[in-house]
Symmetry: C2
Subunit: 227 residues, 2 copies
């Protein structure tokens, strides 16, 4: 199967958890709710309602959905959280370090002539701030936000938008993510896929395996470089 | 706003949590993972992947997705759970009691000539077993499963299928659920909506309010009966 894949011309990176380490945000949410699962519950509710909005043709910004679902999480856990505290917690999303393998691997991909872009459910403004803070902006030809198509991943529109803007065929592009639900969307439009096994990320057993299942971006570089 | 609503001819009930009390299942999952949030994390992951499948035009049965996401939850929480234990846990879904208000309220709706159906993400076979176990089958004109359209709520298809089978206009039907994501789907196709505020269920603040927000079905009956 892998033999028949083209060498990808374009690498499309998911941002949160795939490139950036969310631990700082996770810790803040766990501390403010005094609950070790509060982050998991919130992030899962956030993704759920982003999908609900896409399915029912609504659209609020990812930050607004983030705040609304943080409020829901607090209520579910029987905690109180002030609006100020919600805002300051959510703002941590723009102050996250990259995972340790990221900078080095991006540099290698770039010097081997891969085209590199990012595609995130976050806003255009947020992803710019994130990449600047993480000091990895220079590696990206372009930062795409689904904001421009008002439809969240894993809707086909989100991926098709990147492919169409760059005039690249789906089979020549690879989606790289730590989230199986994101890869399900990429696969559905015909992209190649790579699952990055970040700690706490588990593959969805009913989804056809990703083309590559790797520990980190360093390993992905080695595998692609050998092809 | 409410004055302009027709008296609903058809009441479409969601099943899990809305009619049936999931505590037995919740307890079993919490015990087997020794974790008080394991059920929340699982149920949220289950809904998330049911939506992912609909969005990406895949389809596995709700029970299969339930088992797969229970396995993912175990792995995320660093626990082991055997296939036998997964199967026996999931099978508890057919042995749930109704919430205390349910039987009485259904009887009142029926004797006041409301047409009553159920619409569930669970399979046809499961919902039949559930209603028999809960001893409330007799109140339902028909039990609808999204299995028949291979697309999970909140996709429009799921609701439109019920309306089209019964030849009822959306505005003459009311969707009754304890889950805001379900009501978002009903609203999107033009149905009236009622949110049942079951314990632990929190409304999604970015969704336009349901036509009725009530504590239980008894209160819903009283409100509708006054119109």
């Amino acid at each position: 199967m892998q033999q028949s894949l083209n060498q990808p011309k374009l690498l499309v990176f998911d941002v949160n958890e795939t490139l950036l380490d969310l631990q700082k945000l996770q810790q803040a949410i766990q501390n403010s709710f005094q609950d070790q699962h509060a982050f998991k519950i919130w992030f899962s509710t956030l993704l759920q309602y982003a999908m609900v909005e896409s399915i029912t043709s609504q659209h609020h910004s990812f930050a607004e959905i983030g705040k609304a679902t943080l409020r829901m999480t607090a209520e579910k856990l029987g905690k109180h959280i002030s609006d100020d505290s919600i805002a300051s917690t959510i703002s941590l999303i723009t102050q996250l370090p990259p995972h340790p393998d990221v900078k080095n691997a991006l540099a290698k991909f770039e010097s081997n002539n891969f085209r590199i872009v990012a595609l995130t459910n976050g806003s255009t403004d947020t992803v710019k701030k994130q990449m600047d803070y993480a000091q990895i902006s220079e590696y990206f030809e372009r930062l795409f936000s689904v904001e421009e198509v008002q439809s969240y991943k894993p809707q086909a529109k989100a991926y098709e938008y990147v492919l169409s803007e760059l005039n690249i065929k789906a089979k020549d592009a690879m989606l790289i993510a730590a989230h199986p639900w994101d890869l399900a969307g990429g696969k559905a439009v015909g992209m190649q896929t790579a699952f990055i096994e970040r700690p706490t990320q588990v593959y969805y057993p009913l989804l056809q395996a990703a083309n590559y299942m790797v520990q980190d971006l360093q390993e992905l570089f080695e595998v692609l470089n050998k092809r």
